[in-house]
């Protein structure tokens, strides 16, 4: 990556600048500069903007293109707040308020001897992992899609591990089969593995399924792992509810069990249940669905 690449939209410069800002900005100085940064990135992060517009067009049918551009702006503004507050938590150790929705499922997850947390690129998943590790005193392994800029990837990993205070470990899904075996071992050892299951990036195992009436390809790794390790999948989302305030939304666990059907059929059933959860959460929290790559086939 060239020196100039540091300043690209996904370059490490912006992450480092955010860290600097969190140290330097009084808490009341965020709203207006974040608004202007959102305007800046709304124009300069054109692929991300277009992807959000395209994804929202499918998730919220019947809305006009102009309305979806406004929604894309709101999504980017939420993203700006989300990454800022994650950095505030990491660096300043400020307190955040949160409300738990689906407390019984979250308690089950906290007590589970090995489980998969399936989440989406939604809300503050980074902050959520740190909060979870702190609340339940459990180690959590986050599997992330690789960043295009290695320096950004390194910065993000270090940030997340710091925020989790040793409770969060980052893996990138680039290690192929080795990572799968590693995760399987972790699950069998009683660890919690967190995976983002709303899009595929890179050369990971995929499955074709239906989301909002469209064919999409989603990662099938979580479902294969669940089947092989015999552990449940807990849908979990962290939605921003206001200024330094979050909702932790836990869903009923999805169990992929060996039954009378074939392995593919069992996995397909699990994926279909996940898609139903995903459709519900995206419909309710579309403004926090940070899907910055196209999910659905081009129309």
């Amino acid at each position: 990556m060239s020196q100039l690449g540091r300043f690209a939209v996904r370059g490490v410069f912006w992450r480092e600048y955010l860290d600097w800002a969190v140290v330097n900005l009084p808490f009341y100085f965020y709203p207006v500069p974040l608004l202007f940064f959102t305007i800046f990135f709304f124009f300069f992060a054109a692929p991300a903007r277009r992807a959000v517009v395209a994804n929202l067009a499918v998730a919220l049918p019947g809305s006009s293109r102009a309305m979806n551009y406004l929604r894309a702006f709101r999504t980017l503004y939420n993203f700006a707040w989300t990454i800022s507050e994650a950095a505030i938590y990491k660096i300043n150790k400020e307190e955040f308020s949160y409300e738990i929705i689906g407390a019984e499922w979250l308690d089950q997850l906290g007590a589970a001897p090995g489980a998969i947390v399936l989440t989406a690129h939604m809300g503050n998943y980074d902050l959520g992992a740190a909060l979870f590790a702190e609340k339940f005193r459990r180690e959590i392994r986050m599997v992330r899609a690789p960043e295009s800029d290695p320096a950004t990837a390194q910065h993000l990993s270090a940030s997340l591990e710091k925020a989790g205070e040793g409770g969060v470990k980052i893996d990138y899904n680039t290690a192929g089969a080795l990572l799968s075996f590693d995760l399987l071992k972790a699950l069998r050892d009683g660890e919690i593995v967190s995976i983002q299951g709303d899009r595929v990036e890179g050369d990971v195992a995929q499955v074709t399924t239906r989301l909002f009436g469209n064919d999409v390809r989603l990662p099938n790794g979580p479902f294969v792992l669940s089947l092989v390790a015999a552990v449940p999948i807990f849908p979990l989302f962290i939605a921003r509810a206001g200024h330094r305030s979050y909702q932790i939304i836990a869903g009923e666990p999805i169990r992929v069990l060996r039954g009378s059907g074939t392995r593919e059929e069992e996995i397909a059933q699990g994926v279909a249940r996940w898609c139903a959860v995903l459709e519900e959460i995206i419909t309710d929290y579309w403004e926090q669905w940070f899907a910055f790559t196209p999910i659905f086939p081009a129309r």
């Binding site: 600097w20 800002a21 140290v23 330097n24 900005l25 009084p26 808490f27 009341y28 100085f29 965020y30 709203p31 207006v32 500069p33 202007f36 305007i39 300043n92 400020e94 307190e95 955040f96 308020s97 949160y98 409300e99 738990i100 206001g242 200024h243 330094r244 305030s245």
Partner: protein, 159 residues
């Protein structure tokens, strides 16, 4: 829900909270405070720079300049924050601002800058002077509240 009762950052609001039977603990999680103070500082600085827009321009040129000014003011504050960070580092060498977080020291410098801009706007007169006067009164009341809180809490104790 782990949400604590509402707390405030600014001394005036903390003093009012005490008078209403609440706590005086300083907190940085009040969204309303963040928006009001943030927009107020930005608005004061926008008015300050807007006075330098030449009066003899055509209507559309003035409109364009005022729209562009919003972004220039944003850039100004980004630069001011960086400059302030250098000033804070320098002052810390002399022992000043050594015991407070950088963002609190920045807060003092930002408020000082906005207050200086307000003082200048006040001298110009017109409706912008009214806005500037509101800012100056708010700052004065906040400083008075800070003094009362300091006496109330005793020397050396900080909430």
């Amino acid at each position: 829900m782990n949400s604590p009762s509402p707390h405030f950052y600014f001394s005036l609001l903390r003093l009012m909270a005490i008078l209403r039977g609440g706590g005086a603990t300083r907190a940085e999680n009040n969204g309303a405070e963040a928006w009001i103070a943030g927009v107020a500082i930005y608005f004061i600085s926008y008015l300050f720079f807007a006075q330098f827009v030449p009066a003899d321009l055509k209507f559309w040129q003035t409109g364009l300049l005022l729209a562009g000014l919003a972004f220039l003011v944003w850039l100004f504050w980004l630069f001011a924050l960086y400059l302030n960070s250098l000033i804070i580092e320098f002052l810390r060498l002399g022992g000043l601002f050594a015991k407070i977080p950088t963002r609190r020291a920045q807060s003092i410098l930002l408020a000082t800058t906005a207050t200086a801009m307000s003082a200048q706007l006040l001298q110009r007169g017109g409706w912008t002077a009214e806005i500037a006067a509101i800012w100056l009164i708010a700052v004065a009341m906040n400083l008075a509240a800070a003094v009362i809180l300091a006496f109330r809490n005793g020397a050396g104790r900080r909430d």
